[in-house]
């Protein structure tokens, strides 16, 4: 018979032991285990809930009255930010245009590359999209895991992570639109969920207290975001690899 640890007895006390029935039988059969369990029970039973001060039935209303002025201040700040929204939209359009022009110029300067891209066809485009989004999810996951795993107390300088979150957020938006257009509704929904977290990080301060990292963990946990990012990323990678790569097929044909 395996010896019973204190940890098992604690879990048994709280009704969380995985082998509760067997453990119960063991305790019943052994005077030594009974003594240990009784000692533990004596300690834990002595931890009684302190009396919680009664709040008046109108407590909620009192909390609201203290809170309301602070929320009003915050609303004014948000309103200012909303005023800037059209400018931000224009900045995004300008950035997209810049990207298109840049891509066009790159094509002109490197014609071979352009030919290769034009030759990839539907499967090739789909493959590129799948693998690019998979890579994007992988990068986002690394960033979020790193932040969520920070356990120290105090304030952190997350300026680098904030900058990266900003880049990923812009990418995410473009990939989300592409995923929507290509009928990948689940991928688009995940990218939207991811985007909300990235926006929060990118718009946040450069120095943040550990409490905000706790909030981030809660946020990630809420919708099992990291799990979904991992699963969808891996699925896209598989699908992308499964599709034909015309460029490599062409190369293989030339190699023969």
């Amino acid at each position: 018979m395996k010896s019973v640890t204190d940890e098992q007895l604690i879990l048994y006390y709280y009704g969380e032991a995985s082998d509760a029935e067997e453990l119960g039988r063991q305790i019943e059969a052994s005077a030594e285990l009974q003594r240990r369990f009784e000692a533990l029970r004596g300690i834990l039973d002595s931890v009684e809930e302190p009396e919680i001060p009664e709040r008046h039935p109108s407590y909620g209303s009192a909390v609201w009255h203290r809170l309301a002025p602070q929320l009003e201040q915050r609303r004014s700040r948000l309103w200012d930010w909303e005023l800037l929204k059209p400018r931000r939209e224009w900045a995004l359009v300008a950035a997209t245009l810049l990207l298109v022009v840049g891509a066009f110029l790159a094509g002109r300067l490197w014609p071979r590359q352009q030919v290769e891209l034009a030759a990839v066809g539907y499967d090739g485009q789909e493959r590129i999209l799948l693998l690019t989004v998979a890579k994007h999810l992988e990068k986002s996951e690394m960033l979020l895991v790193e932040l969520a795993n920070t356990r120290d107390n105090g304030e952190f300088d997350i300026s680098a992570e904030r900058q990266l979150a900003g880049q990923l957020r812009s990418d995410s938006r473009l990939y989300r639109q592409a995923a929507k257009q290509s009928g990948q509704a689940d991928v688009a929904a995940l990218l939207e969920q991811l985007e909300r977290v990235l926006v929060e990080l990118a718009n946040g301060p450069e120095m943040i207290p550990s409490s905000d990292l706790g909030d981030l963990r809660v946020l990630l946990d809420e919708g099992d975001l990291l799990f979904k990012v991992r699963v969808v990323g891996s699925r896209l990678r598989e699908e992308g690899r499964g599709l034909k790569n015309p460029a490599s097929e062409e190369r293989s044909a030339l190699d023969v």
Binding site: E7, L40, P53, Y59, A68, S211, R217, L220
Partner: protein, 196 residues
């Protein structure tokens, strides 16, 4: 309170659209419960009030991130627990010296010659319990209190604190170990007196 959840979702939607009365409805509906959790965790009325205030502010700030997968009350409870943890950390830094003094006092209390009449007084045990709880790390204290008073499982505690279930179990184990080390002689003596 449970029946509120359907209504809560409507209020969240309206609050997101800028309806401050809807957010007021959420505040009024959940303040009492959040206060009780905050008081259990901080052990102080003033700190519990601060936690309630901060929790609703954070909830308001992050309302657009609430996706309705969990109940609003559960989501708010997590925020409040994390606010309480932050406050404990701050308090911990500020009162580190006081805690050492309390611990010394507690050790002295435990090591004193046991007098049955004194040891039998449960209020003294209760006072000692409070001192041990105050000396725990914020994670140990929160995990233990969520387990002991609110009946959350290790997995639920893990989700609330953003840690793995194994880590939340270990935090509870460490808390119990410290309680045993500090209270063992006192409780056993008290037990013997009440049975002898």
């Amino acid at each position: 309170m449970r029946g509120m959840e359907g209504n809560d979702l409507e209020l969240v939607e309206q609050a997101r659209a800028g309806d401050s009365d809807a957010f007021r409805g959420l505040v009024e509906g959940h303040s009492q419960r959040i206060f009780r959790t905050a008081f259990r965790l901080t052990g102080s009325e003033q700190n519990a009030e601060d936690v309630v205030q901060e929790a609703f502010l954070r909830a308001y700030r992050k309302l657009h991130l609430f996706d309705g997968r969990s109940q609003f009350g559960t989501w708010l409870h997590r925020i409040a627990v994390n606010c309480a943890m932050d406050l404990m950390r701050k308090e911990g830094r500020r009162t580190q010296r006081e805690t050492i003094e309390e611990r010394t006092e507690l050790e002295a209390m435990v090591n004193r010659d046991p007098r049955p009449d004194r040891m039998a007084e449960s209020s003294e045990v209760g006072q000692a319990v409070q001192q041990v709880l105050l000396s725990l790390s914020p994670t140990e204290r929160t995990a233990f209190l969520l387990r002991h008073f609110e009946g959350h499982t290790s997995a639920e505690i893990g989700r609330i604190l953003g840690i793995r279930p194994g880590a939340s179990r270990n935090a509870v184990f460490r808390a119990v170990k410290k309680l045993r080390a500090a209270l063992g002689p006192m409780v056993e003596e008290s037990h013997e007196v009440s049975h002898g």
